[in-house]
Symmetry: C2
Subunit: 467 residues, 2 copies
C-alpha cells in the first residue's frame, strides 16, 4: 500500500507541471462556431422529439423488464436515425427486481387505505403491527435496542426543496440506511415519508439495501400526503397497519449500454463522453429521469455531426442506473484501459429544468480553456460555479479511474416533485427549457471536441470528485 501511495504522489508531481506548462487552447474559430451551435440548438426540436418518442413508444422501462429490452432496441434505432457513425451495445448483467403489488391499510377504528410504494430491493411479505413514528433517521437510531420488536417503523422526515437538490442526501439517506437500522432494533416492517417534495398522492420509489447478515423486511415509502395522514392518526393514539408487498428479486437479467458515436474528423481516437441513462423506475415514463438526459445528449451528437468535430463524440445510454449504477460500472470496467482517451465526460441526469451552473474537475489544470467555455455558456444564464459541481452517477466509474469531468447543473428546485414517481411524465418537460439544456451541452461539447490539449484525464491521477 505504501509503495502504491508513493508512486501515486510521484505521478502527480510528474503530471502537474506538464499540464500547467501546456495550457489547453481553444481557437477563435471554434468559439465562434460554438456560439452558432448554441443559438441553433435553442431553436432545434431534436431533443424534444427523442424525449417524446422514448416516453411514448416505450413508456416505463424498469431495468430487466420487457420494456427495458424494447428501450435498448429503441436506442439503437434512434442513434442510427440520428446519423451516428457507429452504434453498438455492451452487456450489463444485474439481479432482476420486480414489483407486482403493494398496499398499506390502517386497521381498527380509523380503517383506511394509504398510498405506498415498495422500495427497490425490498422483499415481498405481509406484516401487521403498531406504527412507531420517528421524525428523522437520528431519532430512529436513538431508539433503544430491541425497543421496536414487532413494530412497524415510520420515519417521517419532510424533504426540503432546494436548487441543488441537496436535501436528497438526508431523505435518500433514510431510504438507504433506515431499513437496516429498523431491523437491528427488532422492527418487522419499514415505512418512510417519500424522499421527495411532491404534494401528489404518488409515492416515491428508489433503491434501498440491507446490511449483510440482516434478514430483509418489507420496506416502502408513503406518498407525502399519506405520510401526513398517518402522522395525524398516530397522534390520535396507537395505530396498527398491515403492509403487504408483492415484490422482490427474481434471478438475473442482462440489459445493455447502448452507445452511439460520431467519429472525430482529425482525432477520432480521442473521445468526448456524454451520457444519460436509459432505464427508469416503473411508475412514470421516466421523462425527467432520465429520458431527458438521453434526449439532450443524443441531440447534441446529432447537432454537431454536420460540423465534423475534431474529436469523437460518444453518447452512452446507460443501462440500469436506478438499481445500483450497473451500466456505469460496467462501462468503466469495459473501458478501464482507455481513461486517457476519454478527454472529458459529462452526464445529464437531473431533469430538464434550466441549466444554471458549470463546473469541471479541470478547474485548476485548465482555467483558461474553462474560461473560454464559460464565455460561450454565459448568454444561456449559466454561471461558473467552481467546486459546486459533481460528476453525475454513471460517469463516476470512469472518473474514479482518472477521467476528467464537467458538470452542467440543472435547477433542481422542482426535480423532486416528480423524481421516481408516477408524475414523471412527458408533460412536465418544458420544450424551451429542454432546448436550453441542449444548447449548453452542444456548445460545451463542441469546444471540448475542438480544444488543443486535454482536461487532465489521466489514469495515474485517479479521479477527483467534486466537493
Amino acid at each position: 500500500m505504501r509503495v502504491a501511495s508513493l508512486f501515486f504522489a510521484l505521478s502527480l508531481l510528474v503530471a502537474a507541471p506538464a499540464q500547467s506548462a501546456q495550457p489547453t487552447r481553444i481557437d477563435a474559430t471554434a468559439i465562434a462556431q460554438a456560439g452558432t451551435v448554441r443559438d441553433v440548438a435553442l431553436r432545434d426540436a431534436t431533443a424534444w422529439k427523442v424525449l417524446e418518442s422514448l416516453t411514448t413508444e416505450v413508456g416505463p422501462r424498469l431495468a430487466g423488464s420487457p420494456a427495458d429490452a424494447r428501450a435498448v432496441a429503441w436506442a439503437q434505432a434512434k442513434f442510427r436515425e440520428l446519423g451516428y457513425d457507429r452504434v453498438w451495445t455492451e452487456p450489463v448483467t444485474f439481479p432482476r427486481w420486480v414489483r407486482r403489488s403493494e398496499t398499506l391499510d390502517v386497521l381498527g377504528a380509523h380503517a383506511q387505505p394509504l398510498r405506498v410504494g415498495a422500495l427497490g430491493g425490498s422483499p415481498g411479505g405481509t406484516v401487521e403491527g403498531e406504527v412507531v413514528r420517528f421524525a428523522d433517521l437520528a431519532a430512529l437510531q436513538a431508539a433503544p435496542e430491541g425497543s421496536l420488536a414487532g413494530k412497524i417503523v415510520f420515519v417521517d422526515y419532510t424533504m426540503q426543496a432546494r436548487r441543488d437538490g441537496g436535501d436528497y442526501r438526508n431523505a435518500g439517506g433514510i431510504r438507504w440506511a433506515g431499513p437496516s437500522v429498523a431491523i437491528k432494533k427488532g422492527a418487522i416492517g419499514f415505512l418512510m415519508r417519500s424522499a421527495g417534495t411532491s404534494l401528489s398522492r404518488e409515492p416515491h420509489t428508489g433503491n434501498t439495501g440491507f446490511e449483510p447478515g440482516l434478514t430483509p423486511i418489507p420496506a416502502a415509502a408513503l406518498a407525502t400526503i399519506d405520510a401526513a395522514q398517518l402522522a395525524r392518526l398516530v397522534a390520535l393514539g396507537p395505530t396498527r397497519v398491515r403492509l403487504a408487498l408483492d415484490c422482490g428479486y427474481d434471478g438475473e437479467a442482462t440489459s445493455y449500454n447502448v452507445i452511439g458515436e460520431i467519429t472525430g474528423s482529425t482525432r477520432p481516437d480521442e473521445i468526448i463522453l456524454l451520457g444519460g441513462h436509459l432505464d427508469s423506475w416503473d411508475y412514470g415514463t421516466g421523462a425527467i429521469d432520465d429520458a431527458a438526459g438521453v434526449a439532450i445528449t443524443m441531440a447534441t451528437g446529432a447537432l454537431l455531426k454536420p460540423l465534423h468535430p475534431a474529436r469523437s463524440i460518444r453518447v452512452v445510454a446507460f443501462a440500469n442506473e436506478e438499481q445500483g449504477l450497473w451500466g456505469g460500472r460496467a462501462y468503466a470496467q469495459q473501458h478501464a484501459d482507455e481513461v486517457a482517451r476519454h478527454v472529458i465526460a459529462i452526464e445529464s441526469d437531473f431533469g430538464a429544468a434550466p441549466i444554471f451552473g458549470f463546473d469541471s474537475s479541470a478547474r485548476d489544470l485548465q482555467p483558461q480553456a474553462l474560461a473560454q467555455i464559460q464565455q460561450v455558456l454565459a448568454p444561456l444564464g449559466i454561471e461558473w460555479l467552481p467546486k459546486q459541481g459533481d460528476p453525475e452517477s454513471d460517469i463516476g466509474g470512469m472518473v474514479d479511474l482518472g477521467t476528467a469531468w464537467a458538470w452542467l447543473g440543472h435547477d433542481g428546485t422542482r426535480y423532486f416533485d416528480l423524481h421516481h414517481t408516477a408524475d414523471d411524465t412527458l408533460d412536465k418537460v418544458i420544450p424551451q427549457e429542454l432546448a436550453q439544456n441542449v444548447a449548453a451541452y452542444a456548445a460545451f461539447t463542441w469546444l471540448a471536441a475542438q480544444a488543443e490539449g486535454g482536461f487532465g484525464s489521466d489514469a495515474r491521477a485517479k479521479g477527483e470528485r467534486g466537493e
Copy 2:
C-alpha cells in the same frame, strides 16, 4: 295534465301579490349582529377542526361502505360535541356499488400500463380491442351505427377550468351519456379523458348510467396525463388495449341522513336548512367534496347557537349524494309536507375556495331583504350575482317542491383539479379560505333566521331553479 297546469298558474297569481305586499324586513340589530358573527367566524377554527376530524378519522367514505357507516356515527357524535340541541338520523336506501380493481394495458409494440378509474355504476369485466378515439361526444354520436363493433371507444375531450366550473356540463355529460351511445354503435368498452382539469396521474371517477334495455359495458376514465399518452399512441397507429374492471353493483345498502338542529328561540317551527353531503368517492378523503360543506355548515350552527337565533337552524349531512342524490331525494320525500316551514335552504358542495357570489330564488320576491344580506356579505368580497346561482344538488328535492333557496358560490377554477380524484385531501384546503366560507354562511344564516317574513317558500309555487 291541463287541469294541473292551470291550477299551478293560478297558484302563482295568488302567491305573488301577497309576497310583494309584505316585504321581508331585517332590523338594524340583526344586521349589526351579522357583521359581528361574520368577523368572529373569520378567526374561528371550528370548521377546520371538523374538516380535519372527518377526513382523518374516517377518511374515504364511499356510500354503503363500512367507512360510510363510521361517518354516520362520526356525524352524530360531532353534532352533539358542537352543542346541537337535537340530533337524529333518517334512513336512505340505495343500490350498493363496489370497486375492487381496475387496470388498462396497452398491448403490442408499445405495451405499457395506463392509469384508469372505473366510473361509478360501471359493471366489471375484461374487454380487449382496438381503440377508436373521438374528440368529443358529438364526434362519437356522429359515428355510423355498427361502426364500433368490437371496438373500445375513447372520448378525449379536455375539460376547461372556469370559475363557475361550467365546463363540467360538457365533460360530465360525456361520462353520463357516452357509454350508452358507445353501446348502441357496437362498442365493447368505454374510455374517456377524466372529466377534470387535474394534471396528476389520478383518474377522475363519478357516476355513469346506462339507458334502459342496453347491456352495460365496462366504462372508465383515464387520468388526463394518461389520456394524452393514449392519444399519442393512437396517432402512431392502430392501438389495442385490455381494460379489466372488477367492480359493480352488489345488493342494497342503507345509510342515513344525519341531522343536527339548533332550536329557534322564538320561531322554532321555522327552519333555515343548511347542508353538505357526508359520503365521498373512494379515492381521496373527500376534503373538498364534501367534508368542507359538512364542516362549513356544522360550524355555522355551532357559531350561532350562543346567540339564540329566532328560527331553527337545521344542518343536514346528506347520505349518498355521489351516486344519485339519494340522501337529498329521501329528505324531500320525508319532509314533503313541510315545504313552507323550510324558510330557505342553502348547501355547500363546491369546495372551500373563496365564495365570490350570492344569489337566491327570492331575488324578485324579496329584493330588500336580499340587498340587506348582500350588504353584510360585501366585505367578504362577495358580489350579488342575480340569476348566476343554482341550488346545490341535495337541496334540489325540497326546491322542486317549493322551498326557497340561496346560493353562495365558491370559486371553482381549481375545484376540478381535485374533485372525484385521489388528490381530494385535507392539505388542499386553505384554512383562511375555509373561514371566509364559514363567515359567509354564518352571516347569511343569521340574517335569514332573524328576518321578519320569509323568502317565498310555498308548496303551491313549486321550485324555481336557477338559469
